[in-house]
């Protein structure tokens, strides 16, 4: 959950800020009188909490949602939505500078208007916040409480003094940035996703600490806005969960954008001199210092499990992995479930959504659904985007599943060539000598859109060979998937022929 900060209060003078806050935390809001008992109480009004509220309310049970800060959670307010908005603007600047690549003239005077980009972001955020507004939720019959929730028993919570009794509860309090313990960092001041979107001026230089999705996305965006950007990652490649080629292509993209890439490098100390933040870096036996105007940390997220008195309700948790649940998302208190970032390894909005539906279903009905049955895609929205679903090759081989990968470089795809977007690939992993899809990684300008076709096939049990029979509109970049499917079909035909001819 998020704390509205001083900066937000200042920005609230802006009309868009007021609209946004009116939706996600109306200043004049008064909490309702609690019902005698709720069928479901949801703690946390982020993506998981809102989906849970909607799903539960549609069944007719009495539902309450408690939100400590801003309805919509990180996704709407300080993560997915604002970051995608500024990424789009930064991409436009990159394309303007690279106009000759597209057979166009580079505009004579490319001056980055950072305040305008942030204003657009605020407008978009305010618009989307209408969907998840407090008043809309209340109109749907959900009791909305804005305040701090604490468990006061195995079947009750208090919200700023009011007691809410429940039959079942879902904890969906989300996660927050995990700040690295670097001496001097706190004193020097730093940005996270929770305050970077409050910036009104572009820092002339920026050090991004952490090469995960958030760090990579924002490093590229700010670099394209013109901030002299350095990104440090204490591992050999960015996005350590992704496969090597994907991370390598991203490193190349950063280099093209003029971002200084420091891999295998740790930020070990920060100090302030002459108004600049000096950050000491260590890479094996090489030490250096960079001077920057701002530091952004993107080193992961930790679950919000504090100040809830979970132990009062018998809910086990730890500070790193969050609330402990079984495969049905049930906590150690059978009446309480958890959903979203507070309990999941994959901290994405869409997994929060899916887990919330499972938690509500399991809480309110006898038929039980498993979260392990989910097929979860994800995407890092850099340029090119990096999307993945299912198993990585390494994971499959660890399970003794023989794997074959059908690889189509985007430079073999007509639409990628016409769009000047050839950096990337589609890799679809199948079980050797079958067309059963185990997973896929896509690196492409629109990988996040393309991965959905593979996810659909996996969920529906459609083999890769069948995708070869699906007519794909031409020319589209998704033709890469069709080409991989064609290669798979040809490979299986060849194997069958060879097998028949074998004496």
């Amino acid at each position: 959950m998020l704390q509205p900060g001083t900066a937000s209060d200042e920005l609230a003078r802006d009309a868009l800020e007021q609209t946004w806050l009116e939706n996600v935390r109306p200043p004049a809001w008064r909490n309702p009188k609690p019902a005698p008992r709720y069928g479901l109480v949801i703690i946390g009004g982020g993506p998981a909490g809102l989906v849970a509220a909607g799903a539960a309310a549609s069944t007719g049970v009495r539902v309450a949602v408690v939100e400590r800060a801003l309805l919509g959670g990180s996704c709407l307010n300080v993560a997915c939505i604002p970051s995608k908005a500024i990424i789009r603007t930064s991409r436009l600047y990159a394309e303007m500078r690279n106009a000759e690549h597209y057979g166009a003239r580079v505009p004579g005077d490319i001056r980055v208007d950072f305040p305008a980009a942030m204003q657009r972001m605020r407008r978009i955020r305010a618009r989307i916040s209408r969907v998840d507004s407090v008043r809309r939720l209340a109109a749907d019959g959900v009791d909305v409480f804005l305040g701090d929730a604490r468990f006061i028993g195995i079947g009750s919570i208090s919200v700023d003094g009011a007691k809410l009794r429940f039959s079942k509860a879902v904890v969906a309090t989300g996660a927050r940035p995990d700040t690295p313990a670097i001496p001097g960092l706190a004193e020097a001041g730093y940005l996270t996703n929770e305050n970077v979107f409050d910036l009104t001026e572009l820092p002339p230089s920026l050090l991004v600490i952490g090469g995960g999705p958030l760090g990579c996305e924002l490093a590229q965006a700010f670099g394209r806005f013109g901030a002299r950007t350095t990104i440090v990652q204490d591992l050999p490649l960015f996005l350590p969960k992704e496969e090597r080629d994907a991370a390598q292509l991203l490193s190349d993209a950063f280099a093209r954008d003029g971002i200084e890439v420091r891999l295998n490098t740790a930020a070990v100390r920060v100090r302030v001199e002459g108004g600049q933040k000096l950050v000491d870096l260590v890479s094996d036996d090489y030490q250096s210092t960079v001077a920057v105007d701002a530091i952004l940390t993107g080193t992961g997220r930790i679950p919000n499990v504090e100040q809830l008195d979970l132990s009062v309700a018998g809910v086990e948790f730890d500070a790193v992995t969050g609330i402990h649940t079984d495969d049905y998302l049930q906590t150690t208190n059978p009446r309480i479930y958890a959903a979203g970032d507070v309990c999941l390894e994959h901290k994405f909005t869409h997994t929060a959504d899916a887990s919330a539906r499972i938690a509500v279903h399991n809480a309110l009905s006898d038929r039980r659904q498993r979260q392990s049955s989910l097929t979860i895609p994800w995407c890092t929205y850099t340029d090119p985007e990096i999307a993945h679903v299912g198993l990585y090759v390494r994971e499959a081989r660890d399970r003794d599943i023989p794997v074959k990968t059908f690889t189509i470089p985007m430079h073999d795809v007509s639409r990628a060539i016409t769009d000047g977007e050839e950096s990337g690939f589609v890799k679809i992993h199948v079980k050797e000598r079958t067309d059963r899809i185990l997973g896929a990684t896509i690196v492409a300008r629109h990988a996040g859109e393309m991965i959905n076709e593979i996810t659909l096939a996996m969920v529906a049990g459609i083999g890769l060979r069948t995708l070869a029979r699906v007519i794909h509109a031409y020319p589209t970049q998704a033709e890469a998937i069709k080409k991989a499917a064609d290669a798979c079909a040809a490979s299986l035909r060849k194997a069958a022929t060879t097998s028949r001819l074998r004496p």
Binding site: E100, D234, P236, E243, R256, N264, D284, H411, A487
Partner: protein
């Protein structure tokens, strides 16, 4: 293209010129060989390994007397035997491994280079090759065999695991093991085979399986192959080990072998050059070869006037690059045994179109037809690099006579290492 007398003449000329690099750049006092022919170049331990492996070839081809060759080899091995193994910042080695780059005169570490596992493996493979060939009872040859065995037994491969599942890539006295990831198929089979064959410090656990678990078997451009981007990863281990017909667990599962895999890697390279996604000058069916090599390092404009980001020495790979129009002229011939007709076709074509890549009959490390000088000729890497010359000598010779493969097939350490890695079948 069928094999002709012309092919033999061409190959002999190229192989001999490549070998002469070692004679021209070695230090007769300590037997060490320079990384490249440029002024003040340091010693590369890997290049010494290639030199040691090439001396038997030179003897067989009549380019060097046997006694002279044995003396050069034993001198180098004696240096390593007596070298400073303290692991200090200016030592030569540690735990039986050696720093990547050494001073030409003293043999002390230079450039703050890393203690290199793979380069030590290439050096040790060279020592064992020489020991297998020089089997006479002369003082030099007896000593040579003793030194080679001693150097091999001294390498503490298990230490190089650094407590992990797989081998680490490097170590420095200033910071310990380096953090560089080393996943996926690469030139390290030879390293693992030597480490598994050791009678003294054999690797612990199932490290070979742990390494091969990072392999990716891909269908790319219509070819099924064990993916590795730069061509040299499909060549280096093959210079010593004849992978024809022998299979480890992975290759049994794929019903292939590493030799066939290297042939397919050539076809993938050729396909990439034909597709030429970046539209570089020269690339095509008969002109290809992205691998580790030198390259232009200045921000030079290309033929269209666009500035490009260039890399100097880099491992260039297919299909993900880095690719800025630089090809290694010797790369196709370094894959000669896998598909002779394809390799020779490319070599002849490239010689014809870009004769500037050869000085005399010796290959420059690389050339770039997209970057031309005032004379219209392609940019060419100045001087010569020892790794290029070494891999050429060995692979041309393996194609012509199979000499190195024959020697190493009989090496008990190689055989033991292969078996422990799970290789079966064929000559094994």
């Amino acid at each position: 293209m069928s094999k002709t007398i012309d092919d033999d003449d061409l190959l002999d000329r190229l192989e001999h010129s490549a070998f002469d690099y070692f004679l021209r750049t070695s230090n007769d006092v300590n037997g060490l060989v320079a990384d490249n022919s440029r002024a003040n170049a340091p010693i590369s331990i890997a290049v010494v390994g290639f030199a040691l492996s090439s001396y038997p070839v030179a003897v067989e081809r009549g380019w060097l007397g046997r006694a002279d060759a044995a003396r050069r080899a034993v001198t180098a091995l004696r240096f390593f035997r007596d070298s400073d193994q303290s692991g200090g910042p200016e030592a030569t080695g540690f735990k039986g491994f050696y720093f990547h780059f050494l001073d030409r005169i003293t043999g002390a570490r230079v450039w703050r280079s890393e203690l290199s596992m793979i380069d030590t493996a290439l050096l040790i493979a060279g020592a064992l090759t020489a020991a297998m060939y020089f089997d006479a009872n002369t003082t030099d040859e007896i000593e040579l065999r003793e030194f080679a065995e001693m150097l091999y037994r001294r390498v503490d491969w298990r230490w190089a695991q650094g407590g992990g599942e797989t081998l680490r890539q490097g170590w420095k006295p200033e910071c310990g093991f380096l953090h560089y990831g080393w996943e996926g198929y690469n030139e390290a089979i030879l390293l693992y085979v030597l480490a598994l064959g050791s009678p003294t410090h054999r690797l612990g656990g199932d490290c070979y399986h742990a390494w091969t678990a990072t392999y990716q078997w891909e269908n790319l451009y219509g070819y099924d192959f064990l993916y590795g981007g730069p061509l040299f990863v499909h060549q280096f281990s093959h210079a010593w080990i004849d992978f024809r017909g022998i299979q480890d667990r992975f290759m049994r599962e794929k019903r292939s072998d590493y030799f066939e895999n290297s042939r397919r890697a050539m076809l993938v390279q050729r396909e990439y050059a034909e597709r030429n996604p970046n539209e570089f000058a020269g690339y095509g069916e008969h002109c290809w070869g992205l691998t580790a090599c030198d390259g232009p390092s200045d921000e030079l404009p290309d033929v269209t006037g666009e500035p490009r980001r260039l890399f100097g020495y880099a491992a260039r790979g297919v299909p993900y690059g880095p690719d800025y129009g630089t090809l290694a002229g010797c790369a196709p011939l370094a894959s000669l045994p896998f598909a002779p007709e394809i390799a020779l076709d490319a070599a002849r074509n490239m010689h014809l179109r870009y004769p500037e890549m050869l000085s005399g009959s010796r290959y420059a490390s690389s050339f770039n037809p997209s970057l031309t000088g005032a004379d219209g000729r392609a940019w060419v890497s100045p001087g010569h690099f020892g790794l290029d010359q070494g891999i050429l000598v060995m692979m041309i010779e393996n194609h012509r006579s199979g000499l190195i493969w024959r020697l190493m097939r009989e090496c008990p350490h190689i055989r033991a290492g292969l078996r422990r890695a799970g290789f079966r079948g064929g000559w094994l």
